[in-house]
Each structure stands twice: as C-alpha cells, then as structure tokens.
Amino acid sequence: MSGEPTPPPTRLRIRSDDGVGGVAATGSADGHWRVAPEVVFDSRDVSVFYGAKQALTGVSLAIRRGQITALIGPSGCGKTTFLRSLNRMNDSVPSFRIEGQVLYHGHDLYAGNVDRVEVRRRIGMVFQKPNPFPKSIYDNVAWAPRNLGLKAGLADRVEQALRGAALWDEVKDRLKDSALGLSGGQQQRLCIARAIAIEPDVLLLDEPASALDPIATAAIEELMHSLKGRFTIVIVTHNMQQAARVADRTAFFSLASLGAERPVGTLIEFDDTATIFGGPRDPRTRDYVSGRFG
C-alpha cells in the first residue's frame, strides 16, 4: 500500500481494533502507509487467577510478527503473568487458571489437544535471572538442539546462536569452560543464545536486563535490535527508557479497581511506542511514563 496518495497530515490510526484481523494498515509517524505484519498472538479478554486471587483481568491485544512488543507497568500489575501465559509456563503453578483466549497463529494455546512441550519448542523464554545449566558454554547452547534431534551441523548451529547473541567473540576460545564462570551479562546472552539455538518463532523476555549493570544492559538492548525481524519478541521491563529504546509497540499494564474488592492488573493502553511515550490517550499512562507514579 506504499503507493497510497497524500499522506494524512496528522498521525492517524485506522487500525480497526487491536486483536482483530490478521493485517491492519497504519499511518506511521513519517507519513507513509505500511501494512502491519500478521498477528502472532491474539489475546482475547484474558483473565488469570491463582486460586481465588485474580491476577489479571480482561487483557485484549495483538502481538505482530517480527516486532518487539514491550510490556511495561508497575510491580504486581500482571505483566509477567501475562508473558508466562503466552508459552504456558504458568501451568506449573498448581492453582493457575486462565479465562478468555490466547490465539497463537490462530490456534487456541489452551485448547485440550495442545502439547505444552510443543508450545515451548516454538515460543522460547529468557528469564529475569540468568539461569545457565551447570555445563560448558558449548553444551548449554547445544543442549536443546541435541534433545530435539537437531544433531546435524550442531557445531555450526551453536556458533550461529552464539553469534546471534553477540557472544561468540567473547567465548569462542573457551567453549569448553563452565558457563558459570561467565559474568552476569554474558550468562544472560548465553541464555538468549540457548533460546535461539532451536530457532523458535517467538522469544519471550522477562525483564532480561534487570539483574545486569548498565553496560551489560546496553549489550542486551543492542542484541535485541539485531534479533528484531528474525524473531517476534515480547519483553517485560520495569525500565521505561528501555521500552522506549527497543520496542515497536508498548503495552502499559496497571492495577485498576473494576468494582472488585481489590485492584486487579489489567491492560490500560497499547499503542506504538512513540505514542505511548509521546502522547498517550489515557491519563494513567501519561502519569506513569512521565514518572508521576510507579
């Protein structure tokens, strides 16, 4: 649709509704029309409960292929809960219950015939605290491919993954050394290499830089830019500047009292990152991104 006539003078959203339809057109800030990529995750009115306690209510949003989507918001607003619902990591919590639908490429993630292991084969995750296996650097990256039967060209695959995670030059001479000897930032990049070694469709990052110093954080952010497009990335972050730097789209979660006894985490606003930080529609988003709260 790049041949569209006169670009509209102001930013204009003609996206009918996030979460519906595979393709939507967007008037971007530079005035060109673009076709939004296809929807990978379509969350429809998702609510999450841990036992009797509701952690999340009514989240509807669409996450699109190849983009980086950031989930921001104050502590306890359910952004990590939402992230972990996208690859069924919450299933291991005994009292976990979900309502609504999460569609992944149109398939209901929580349908009865869905295999959790298959879900995670396609939707990888990197955690807040680096959690390398107590094995060598090489074996950390080679572990999942080996166990998934991707043994052909394993050494190549490991090198590509480590290059992809911008770690190769630092570790190529000590692949046999224990991963536990790496610095925190290197360990986290190793975890990213481990996740991309099996070439998943989606990478979920749960505050991947929160345990790292600013230099290691910058390295992770740079890495995310290089991974963008290759993978669909969803990142939870406490750090608003980080969201502003890396994300195409940003979802602001917060606690809202919806007539319930206790406030419950929910999605307040979801838009282009520039809009969320430049001119959010919701006053709660404005207060949060301007640092007046949270």
């Binding site: 291991s92 959690n131 390398p132 296996f133 107590p134 999942a144 166990n147 099996i198």
Partner: protein, 293 residues
C-alpha cells in the same frame, strides 16, 4: 531513682541478684550436653580400638584369601556378590522413587511416600529377613539372591531419601530453563537434573551399602548354610558371607575362632568407616559445586 528497676545502674558490672545461680545452671546444662557428645565419640573410639587390638593380629594374606579354617576369602567374595546385586536392585528403584518425589508427585502423594520410606527405614531387619524367608527361601532353598533382595529392601529407603534431598537442591530455575526450551520432562531430568545431583545420589548409595554390608539378621534366614572352606560364586545357592561367619564363629567355643571373628569385624568396620567418610567427602564436594552454581 526508680525502685522498679531492681538494680542500681551505677553499681560495678559484677554478677548480682540470682545471676550466680542462673549461671551455674546454664553451665551445668552445657556440661551435660558436652558429656553426651563426648560419650558418643568415646563409644565409637572404644569399639574401634577393641576391634583393631583384637582383630589386627588375625589379619594376614592367607587370612584374606584362603577358605576356612585359616581364612575368610569366601566370605569376603560372597558378601561382595550379595551387596553388589542388592545395590543393582536398590539403586535404580531408590533413585526413581526420589525422582518421583522431586519431579512428579503432588503434595499429598509426596507426604505419603516420604512417610512410607521413613517407616521402612525403621523396620527391624529381622522382620525383612522373615518376610524374605517366607517369600523366597521356604520350600525352596537358601540363596545369595534372596539375601540380596532382603538387603535391597533395607537399602531403598536411605537411597530414596538421600537422593531426594539432593534433587531438592537442584535450582528450580534450571528446570524452568529446560522447560522453556521445549524439551520433554524426562529428557530434562536425565540430562540436567540428574547430572547436577549425581554426587549426592552416589553418596546416599555408598552410605546404604555400608549399612547393608553389616546386616546380619536377613542373611541368617537367607544364606547361612554354606561351606566356609571353598569359594562360591553362584548367587542361586547359599553364599558364604561376613556377618553370618562372624556370628557363627563367636558362637563357637574356640579361642582361634574368636580371633578370626575379631579380624572379620575389623575388615567390616574399616569398610564401613571408609565408605562413610568417603561418601561424606564426596557429598561435601558436590554440595559446594552446586552452591557455587
């Protein structure tokens, strides 16, 4: 100044009031506790000293390799065979029980299985011997295998509990990392969880071997009618073994037999001591490795 304080804050800081009495009581309790601990170490020391003093002179090369009456070679070999088979049975079962507890079971099942293991651990070995006698020996014949099964029943609970304790030390973050990579649970257990815990599992096994090697009661039922003069390697027959030989020798009115019994006891106690100490050193090493992870 207030009378309620009960003391003069400006007085010298020496004991006042009933403090001397309280201090004496406290000191007495400490002494009693220390004495009990010293006694425990002392008992072990006396046992080891007695066994070494009386058994050392019995031990020489022919004692180790010849059959009765000069030596106890057949018993050493027999015990090794019996305990080896028992370990082959008990280790997989114990480790699988530990894996069930740490990786698969829910809260209530965990409690039930743990309780079962603790009860089994406290079961008198003579009852296990009687059970095996009824199951495998009566109407058939005594055999090394029957003894191995009895010892395996004794070994499973400590292996299971010990392994489960080290499996619990494997960080949950590692399981989460493995889960998030789309690898099935059993592969994760086999290649991530078990290798981290292997040191502790080996330790638990060695400790239970040390315990089983000296068990006597089940062997009296299962493998006590043997010919101590010749080597026997067939576990389908009664095998000569150390505990039963110690028992029969000490029952005889024969001073040389006494010396032999002491010599055998020395071998047994050295094996148990070295196995226990080695196992503990191994465990400490694997704990350190895990905690640095």
């Amino acid at each position: 100044m207030s009378d309620q304080a009960g003391f003069d804050p400006t007085a010298p800081l020496t004991a006042s009031g009933n403090l001397p009495r309280r201090r004496a009581l406290s000191r007495g309790a400490e002494l009693a506790a220390t004495a009990a601990a010293v006694l425990a170490v002392g008992v072990l020391a006396v046992v080891v000293y007695t066994v070494v003093a009386r058994g050392a002179k019995a031990i020489d090369w022919s004692f180790l390799v010849e059959g009765a009456p000069a030596g106890i070679g057949p018993e050493l070999v027999g015990t090794a065979i019996i305990v080896a088979i028992a370990t082959l049975i008990a280790m997989p079962v114990g480790v699988l029980i530990a894996l069930y507890l740490s990786e698969y079971a829910g809260g209530r099942a965990t409690q039930l299985v743990k309780l079962t293991m603790d009860v089994m651990n406290g079961l008198p070995s003579i009852i296990i011997g009687l059970f095996i006698f009824g199951l495998l020996v009566n109407h058939r014949q005594q055999s090394g295998i029957a003894a191995s099964v009895a010892l395996a029943i004794i070994m499973v609970p400590p292996i299971a509990r010990g392994s489960q304790e080290v499996l619990a030390l494997v960080p949950g973050a590692q399981r989460e990392a493995a889960d998030a990579l789309g690898v099935s649970r059993w592969r994760s257990v086999l290649t991530v969880v078990l290798p981290s815990a292997v040191g502790g599992i080996v330790t638990a096994t060695v400790l239970s071997v040390a315990r089983a090697a000296g068990e006597t009661a089940p062997l009296i039922f299962a493998t006590s009618v043997f010919d101590p003069t010749r080597y026997s390697f067939n576990p389908l027959e009664a095998l000569p073994n150390v505990p039963v030989r110690v028992f029969t020798l000490s029952e005889e009115a024969n001073p040389e037999g006494f010396t032999e019994a002491w010599g055998l006891s020395l071998l047994l106690i050295s094996f148990i001591l070295f196995a226990s100490l080695g196992a503990r050193a191994l465990l400490a090493r694997s704990r350190r490795k895990m905690e640095s992870a």
